[in-house]
């Protein structure tokens, strides 16, 4: 169903598509030697166009394509590329689609990936568009919840931190509305979930808003922590005050129930104490590692190995 299709929003995926991506990711994880040997994407080229800085996402896409036996071409730096000379995204895409079989794009403006897909006959994967969506991160998040807690349905998921600007959070909440889950949103009022996201899912989800993590931590199965970005605050003292009240330390971990997990889309700055890394609840590095099998699976399915 996903063959030769673009992935712009998590809403583009049917439930069966998501299951197929996860099952293939499971297979790839369990048969990495075989995949490396058979190089199913040999002779295919993946182009990465990153108009915003990114380490993990770009490296993860590139490593995934390399492990599938394909090749990668990359825009070196958006500051020195044709974009900096004033070329439209539409023109850049028209050129790059003739060089590659699949294009991964991250752009600071919302809707950029959808626009790219209208000018490309090759599939586009949205790797983040402004404060819009980041659907492959969402797939990795769902895959991590599924694999680390044994499923997604019936979980109580607490999302804490910056719910306003965090695009990973918007995509994740949209995706979770497919499942039978309870969602707790914990954030300062100034960083609450925007109405345009909330209105789209409020009727489909059991969702509650809290100011205090202590109200929900003991019942939580999945604690999803996001970065509160210092640059969003004019008054830096306000940032330090806020970050203190949402920081995850061993004290918080001790209140969590058995089998519960902590996730974070990374990069992590001050939100999680490094001491938490060594607890069995910490799954954020596993989550990042899951980026490889999930993206390998997605690329394979779209390019149809």
């Amino acid at each position: 169903m996903l063959k030769n299709k673009s992935l712009i929003s998590i809403a583009d995926l049917e439930d069966d598509d998501i299951n197929a991506i996860f099952e293939k990711a499971d297979y790839i994880s369990g048969h990495m030697d075989e995949v490396l040997r058979t190089s199913p994407m040999k002779s295919k080229i993946l182009a990465t166009l990153f108009y915003e800085p990114s380490t993990r996402t770009r490296l993860s896409f590139e490593a995934s394509m390399e492990r599938l036996g394909g090749s990668v071409i990359s825009m070196a730096d958006s500051k020195t590329s044709s974009f900096a000379k004033g070329e439209t995204l539409a023109d850049t895409i028209r050129i790059v689609e003739s060089y590659s079989d699949i294009i991964v794009i991250r752009h600071p403006l919302e809707g950029a990936s959808l626009l790219a897909s209208k000018f490309s006959s090759k599939p586009i994967i949205n790797a983040g568009d402004g404060s819009g969506e980041h659907p492959t991160q969402t797939l990795i998040d769902l895959y991590t919840i599924r694999n680390e807690t044994g499923g997604i349905d019936d979980r109580e998921i607490t999302i804490v931190g910056d719910l306003k600007y965090g695009r990973t959070v918007h995509s994740l909440i949209l995706a979770l509305s497919r499942y039978n889950v309870k969602i707790n949103l914990v954030s300062p009022p100034s960083l609450a979930l925007p109405n345009y996201v909330y209105n789209g899912i409020k009727d489909k989800l059991n969702i509650e808003t809290y100011n205090n993590l202590d109200d929900v931590i003991s019942g939580t199965d999945v604690l999803y922590v996001t970065r509160i970005q210092k640059e969003r605050f004019v008054d830096k003292n306000e940032y330090y005050k806020l970050i203190g009240s949402y920081k995850i330390t061993l004290n918080e971990v001790n209140k969590m129930k058995n089998g519960s997990i902590i996730m974070h889309p990374l990069p992590r700055v001050d939100e999680i104490d490094p001491a938490v890394d060594y607890t069995k609840n910490a799954k954020y590095f596993r989550q990042a590692a899951n980026g490889i099998p999930v993206r390998m699976s997605l690329i394979s399915i779209i390019l149809g190995d």
């Binding site: 539409a90 919302e110 809707g111 626009l115 209208k118 209105n199």
Partner: protein, 151 residues
């Protein structure tokens, strides 16, 4: 005095009737009216159907599709009569489309459609009354007042 005499008949042109009361000036603002065109406006005209309504009569002007689409956004109940030699030759209701393409700009400055790319802004109509549009690119919603400001 008979109501029909409040606004004189026109020989050739367009009558926009059943405009929600108070919106005639907004409708007029979005139409391309040349300097030498005569326009009559009736505001708060009693109406059996609507209680009160606004009416606009424009001499020697026939509306383009884009103008009809704009009217449908702010006055979805409006009826259009085409007048030729004092007779109504055509009468129809404006039609609020499912998609609004190239008429309204997205209010989100961070939307790709505001970045000089070769695409028309495109919205899905998610509610007719009150009007609400959703940008297909950035997914932001626009209210009626947002739409009127960007027409």
């Amino acid at each position: 005095m008979e109501r029909t005499l409040k606004i004189s008949k026109i020989k050739d042109g367009t009558v926009i009737d059943h405009i929600p009361s108070g919106k005639a000036v907004k409708v007029l603002n979005i139409l391309k009216i040349s300097e030498n065109t005569s326009v009559s406006i009736g505001i708060r005209v009693p109406s059996n159907m609507m209680g009160f309504k606004d009416v606009i009569k424009i001499e020697n002007k026939f509306l383009e599709k884009i103008e009809l689409d704009k009217i449908s956004l702010i006055a979805p109940s409006a009826t259009i009569s085409i007048i030729k030699d004092y007779d109504i030759t055509e009468k129809f209701k404006v039609d609020l489309p499912e998609s609004v393409i190239g008429i309204v700009r997205c209010t989100n400055q961070n939307c790709i459609t505001n970045a000089g790319e070769p695409v028309s802004p495109e919205f899905k109509v998610i509610s007719a009354n009150p009007l609400a549009l959703k940008c297909i690119y950035c997914k932001r919603e626009m209210s009626e007042s947002d739409v009127i400001n960007s027409l």
